[in-house]
């Protein structure tokens, strides 16, 4: 059987920037079943911030998320409902690079809403598990990552996109 976990694209920031896009112009290959994005990120704000994903340049309030977190002293859960921010898929601070991975399931399907799973880790403050929903049946051909409050991703942040193809 052929290997099915394949790299699609990677980006390493040479300087701080406010967003990162995969598939600009709608060029994410539609040949996989799921997408996985691996992010090693920090932000330049001095504050702990969420990272959001938005699909196909859509900024309407079609996004929602349920999340579970632990801070080292307590555990909790929360959600965003009908938000235009996007789906929470990462977390970072201004100190060390934080490792975050999120999965986009069945992204080429044009009959179901799109669902994500994420594990976010900010080494200094929190671990998070997220399940997100984009209430659109559109297939996903591009997505953009942005930080809470418009904070920049710092230089050296890396973003790698993989595709997994089911039999």
């Amino acid at each position: 059987m052929a290997a099915t976990y394949e790299p699609i694209a990677t980006t390493t920031l040479g300087s701080a920037q406010s967003s990162v896009t995969f598939g600009s112009g709608g060029t994410i290959p539609q040949t996989y079943t799921d997408l996985i994005c691996v992010m090693s990120i920090k932000n330049g704000s001095g504050t702990n911030y969420n990272t959001y994903v938005r699909f196909n340049d859509v900024t309407s309030s079609d996004y929602s998320v349920t999340y579970l977190y632990g801070t080292g002293s307590s555990a909790g859960s929360g959600r965003d409902t009908s938000t235009s921010n996007g789906i929470r898929v990462g977390y970072s601070n201004a100190g060390d690079f934080s490792t975050n991975i999120f999965h986009i399931f069945n992204y080429t399907n044009s009959t179901t809403y799109k669902t994500t799973l994420a594990r976010a880790n900010d080494n200094a403050s929190i671990v998070v598990a997220n399940v997100g929903l984009w209430r659109r049946t559109d297939y996903i051909n591009r997505f953009t990552l942005v930080n809470e409050a418009g904070a920049n991703f710092s230089a050296g942040s890396t973003f790698t996109l993989y595709g997994i193809k089911a039999a």
Partner: protein
């Protein structure tokens, strides 16, 4: 290599190997059955298994379960769950099923999850499973981390995913992957 894959998938920060992760089979829901089965007869060459799923039941609010080799041996499981307002833990012992957090029933809204089944062919170890799963219905939902122990030392030869009392809809998909060592 295996540690590399697992680390890549679950956030330790190592880039996963892309040559040892292979698709074995995909099973879809029919709308008229509540069971999906993978027969592992003839499947060789893998150390671990992973199931990635997108799943919805045809009736509201029911969970799904995973069962090995027709499920006559007992299971112990622990879960950490978040429902959007609070985090909580739960555990069970002595059942024949492992709970998946996939009870979505909203229109076009599906539960998703990633299940790792470690050293599935061993005949000397009890089998361990972990799962990251959940569903969001825009205003309600559940996300969870789970682990389970199947107390049998038998090699896993078939895997059944069972909906709790209802059927899987026709867009439901369970994809089985093998990871080499």
């Amino acid at each position: 290599m295996i540690g590399n894959i697992a680390a890549g998938l679950y956030g330790v920060g190592v880039t996963p190997s892309t040559t040892s992760f292979e698709s074995i089979a995909t099973a879809s829901g029919t709308g008229s059955s509540g069971t999906i089965t993978f027969d592992l007869t003839g499947v060789t060459g893998y150390k671990h298994l992973q199931i990635r799923y997108l799943s919805k039941n045809t009736a509201s609010g029911t969970d799904a379960y995973i069962q090995f080799n027709s499920g006559t041996d007992s299971v112990r499981r622990h879960q950490l769950l978040g429902d959007g307002s609070a985090a909580g833990g739960s555990s069970n012992a002595g059942t024949a099923y492992i709970l998946l957090t996939s009870g979505s029933s909203g229109s076009s809204m599906y539960g998703v999850g990633i299940i790792d089944i470690l050293d599935y062919a061993s005949t000397t170890k009890a089998k361990t499973v972990r799962c990251l799963s959940g569903y969001d219905l825009n205003g309600s939902g559940l996300v969870g981390l789970g682990s389970a122990l199947w107390t049998s030392t038998s090699a896993i030869t078939d895997i059944s995913i069972k909906s709790a009392g209802t059927n899987f809809d026709s867009n439901t998909r369970y994809a089985l992957y093998g990871i080499k060592d």
